[in-house]
């Protein structure tokens, strides 16, 4: 193979890749053809989708994402719902396949318990410290006014006279 032919094929591949990039239009999160006819079922589907992370995206739920895989997952969620699964069944089904990483709300298991307890623990600890501080301040005796140096005292007198 000559260098020229290799370059040509290379360039063609790059061009094809570029064309693909430009040709693939951005999808728009939930598409009209995904929407279920039953509004109650659709609302459940939306709620579930909002809690599932799009695995190839940056911190987006499948409900917001434009990615192809998010669309596949949205369709999967709706399929399961139509098949009669409960919300928890659907979520368990997705977690089985993609891992707990997809859950926007971390489970209350194992180490995550610490995360869920953190707000309460912090407010209790902080509240206790604050209360102790306030108690101490309200019981404290104000330092004597004699804390002023003679120089400051003189200045104070001068200002009061003005």
């Amino acid at each position: 193979m000559t260098a020229r032919a290799s370059f040509g094929r290379h360039a063609a591949a790059v061009m094809a890749a570029l064309m693909l990039l430009v040709a693939v239009p951005p999808a728009m999160a939930v598409q009209p053809d995904e929407v279920l006819a039953d509004p109650l079922l659709e609302e459940r589907a939306r709620d579930i989708s909002a809690g599932l992370r799009c695995v190839v995206c940056r911190n987006e739920s499948i409900d917001q994402s434009n990615a192809e895989i998010a669309r596949d997952l949205r369709l999967l969620v709706r399929e399961r719902l139509v098949a009669g699964d409960s919300d928890d069944d659907v979520i368990a089904y997705v977690v089985d396949r993609y891992g707990e990483y997809v859950l926007m709300r971390p489970t209350m298991t194992g180490g995550n318990i610490l995360l869920w307890l953190a707000p309460l623990a912090l407010i209790l600890a902080g509240g206790g410290l604050s209360l102790a501080y306030i108690r101490r301040r309200s019981g404290a005796v104000a330092p004597a006014e004699a804390a002023l140096s003679p120089e400051e005292e003189a200045r104070l007198q001068a200002i009061l006279k003005e």
Binding site: E100, M104, L115, G126, R137, S138, P143
Partner: protein, 662 residues
């Protein structure tokens, strides 16, 4: 040539920062006035050199000098001039240069306006500030040099990320940086005070304007970012609990705590060591924010800024400054004896509650943000912590703050009566409960959270007004109105900022509780109903040429119940060929009571276009409230006592009497 001069100026600024970091500090230690005095001209020089360097980089972007690696990677000749300029900080290297530019600007401001500071304190503040600058100059020069040339300049550049080519986001980074970096001043004051071993009321008064200014800038920066997300990301969300958003929220919350606790230091000489700690933490969270954004350790929509190696360097800077200052704090905090005595029910206690809620909520956000890292480090699980967690964990704090804010603000210093404050606020309480019940009654089947949010926002706004009114004393209404205008600006600032919180809360509660959504295939010429509005897709123009993009633009008419057209909206899909990236541009009809929000999707196989329509009630109130909060901060900043502080600084004994009531 200009590029080389810019590069050289940056190196010189680094040298000056090293000098300014050492000499004034030694001078202050030895009591050598001349050594202390060099800090002023050094700070000015440092700023001018950095400003020149920044101008040189801007020039390279404006003239599209593609011999610079940075310009090639982030610019293009077809880009509009505005985005050529904002492209300077739309990337890692340039944004860091902006960071140090602002850092040196604050240092210079302290030199220019700090004539009322004791000379040793001023010298130490400027030295500490310069040590932060030196760390960042070194970071830029050794790992992220914006002035690197290309051996073979290309004919054209690779364009800026199209998402960043937007007015909202163009000015979002500078404001955020002004806020982040502004907190470095509070940090420098805290460390200088620790070195000095002395914190008094005057210190509280000096540190507060800087914190207030930083907080105002952060407020504007966060507001701009949220507004941008709302109209640009295509579905009208305003807050995502994204790690990078949290990175800006944490310093904002801590700065809010700090500017309140500084009041206690200033007026009552209590909470001293806590305030010092907050000042250190506030800047610490700014550095953490910079670390999160610049390193990309936490995946987020700000992916354009990622670079793990540089992150390690920022982590090093963070550890050095936090470790050093906290060590110093541990050594010296015991010496900060509190003077003020107050009873359990008092303004002081109210501000302690404020600080408790703000500080704990900051740490909750912090733990949630870094949790995926923590759990990955200690187990083999990979977890996500998304909006559901933050909404559940943060909302109670937000509600508690809203309940306590008007009450705490009404309490008197030293010793107060809670029932008296409640009586004064009774009209606000009644109004809030009535409005909340009304909203709850007309919104059947929805959660109670939205009516509670609405009631609390009424409580906040009405409470702020009553607070202001109660400061006018007794007597005839006309006389009280006259006195209203003579109240100190700090009182007005407080009421305005607190009312702003209420307005934002109102927008958030109504938008999340009552927005309407419609997804459908729209055929040109057919109209349909969404809420109280009739929507008709008129026509879709394809291949509309923009300056550096190609657009698919829909023309959509919005009509009211009577069939009158109230808006013609143009939702778009754009493709930026150079960057190879598509974006969506929503079509929005903004109003006082609602936004009509349109997003255009794909053409459908059977004809027609996918079109999403939202009616978003009171959306603009979210950012309106943000602006009003910032305005409140500015009003407070313009208070007379920050301009006449010089005399007060020399006579610490008499301050409490001449102070405006707050």
């Amino acid at each position: 040539m200009i590029t080389e001069l810019g590069h050289f100026a940056l190196i010189l600024a680094f040298m000056v920062s090293l000098f300014q970091m050492v000499v004034p500090l030694v001078g202050a230690h030895r009591g050598n006035g001349a050594w202390m005095a060099v800090a002023d001209p050094a700070a000015t020089t440092q700023f001018l050199l950095t400003a020149f360097s920044f101008a040189a980089l801007t020039w390279a972007f404006v003239t599209s000098d593609f011999s610079l690696n940075l310009v090639t990677a982030n610019s293009h000749t077809d880009k509009p001039m505005l985005y050529k300029i904002t492209g300077v900080w739309g990337n890692h290297e340039g944004s860091l240069l902006l960071w140090v530019l602002i850092l040196t600007l604050f240092g210079a401001c302290a030199a220019w306006f700090g004539s009322n500071l004791p000379p040793t304190l001023k010298a130490r503040v400027l030295a500490v500030q310069s040590s932060v600058a030196a760390a960042f100059f070194a970071f830029i020069l050794f790992t992220s040099n914006p002035f690197l040339r290309l051996a073979m300049p290309p004919m054209n550049g690779q364009d800026l990320n199209p998402l960043l080519q937007d007015p909202g986001l163009a000015f979002h980074p500078p404001f955020l940086y002004l806020g982040y970096v502004g907190l470095s001043m509070a940090f420098s004051f805290a460390v200088a005070a620790l070195i000095e071993g002395r914190v008094d009321a005057a210190w509280g008064r000096w540190v507060r304007p800087w914190t207030l200014a930083a907080w105002v800038f952060l407020t504007i920066g966060i507001g701009l970012g949220s507004w941008w997300a709302y109209y640009e990301l295509g579905w009208g969300g305003f807050w995502f609990w994204d790690p990078v958003e949290n990175a800006s929220l944490m310093p904002w919350l801590i700065a809010a705590a700090l500017l309140h606790s500084a009041i206690v230091v200033e007026k009552r000489e209590a909470l001293k060591s806590w305030t010092i700690l907050l000042a250190i933490l506030a800047f610490g969270f700014s550095l953490i924010g910079t670390f999160i954004v610049r390193s990309g350790v936490l995946t987020s929509v700000h992916a354009f800024a990622n670079d793990p190696e540089r992150g390690v360097y920022i982590l090093g800077i963070l550890c050095f400054f936090m470790g050093g200052s906290l060590f110093l704090f541990a050594l010296r905090a015991g010496a900060m004896e509190a003077k003020g005595v107050f009873s359990t029910v008092s303004r002081e206690s109210g501000l302690v509650l404020n600080n408790l809620l703000l500080a704990v909520s900051t740490f909750v956000v912090f733990i949630g943000t870094i949790w995926p890292l923590v759990i990955e480090m200690f187990s083999d699980r990979t977890v996500s912590v998304g909006p559901p967690f933050f909404n559940m964990a943060f909302t109670p704090f937000a509600l508690a703050m809203a309940v306590a804010m008007p009450l705490g603000g009404m309490l008197a210093w030293k010793r107060a009566k809670l029932d008296r404050a409640v009586m004064q606020l009774m009209p606000a309480l009644i109004l809030a409960v009535a409005v909340g019940l009304l909203v709850w009654a007309i919104s059947t089947g929805k959660s109670a959270l939205a009516p509670i949010g609405v009631a609390l926002s009424v409580w906040l706004v009405a409470g702020s007004l009553l607070d202001l009114w109660s400061r006018t004393g007794r007597g005839a209404v006309a006389g009280r109105f006259a006195r209203l205008w003579r109240l100190p600006r700090a009182d007005w600032g407080k009421a305005t900022a607190h009312a702003g919180v209420g307005l934002t809360m109102f927008g958030v509660a109504t938008l999340t509780g009552y927005q309407l959504e419609d997804i459908r295939v729209a055929n040109p010429g057919q109209s349909y109903q969404v809420g109280a509005y009739e929507v008709e897709l008129l026509v879709v123009d394809q291949n509309v040429q923009g300056p550096n993009y190609i657009s698919t633009m829909a023309h959509v008419a919005i009509r009211d119940r009577q069939g009158r057209q109230i808006a013609l909206l143009h939702p778009e899909k754009r493709i930026y060929p150079v960057a190879g990236m598509p974006t969506t541009e929503a079509g929005i009809d903004s109003g006082w009571t609602r936004d009509v929000y349109l997003a255009l999707g794909d053409p459908q196989p059977g004809g027609g276009w996918a079109l999403r329509t939202w009616i978003k009630p009171f959306a603009n109130w979210i950012w309106g409230g943000t602006i009003i909060m910032a305005l409140g901060g500015l009003l407070s900043l313009s208070d007379r006592r920050y301009r006449v502080a010089a005399g007060a600084a020399k006579a610490p004994g008499i301050r409490a009497n001449e102070m405006p009531a707050e």
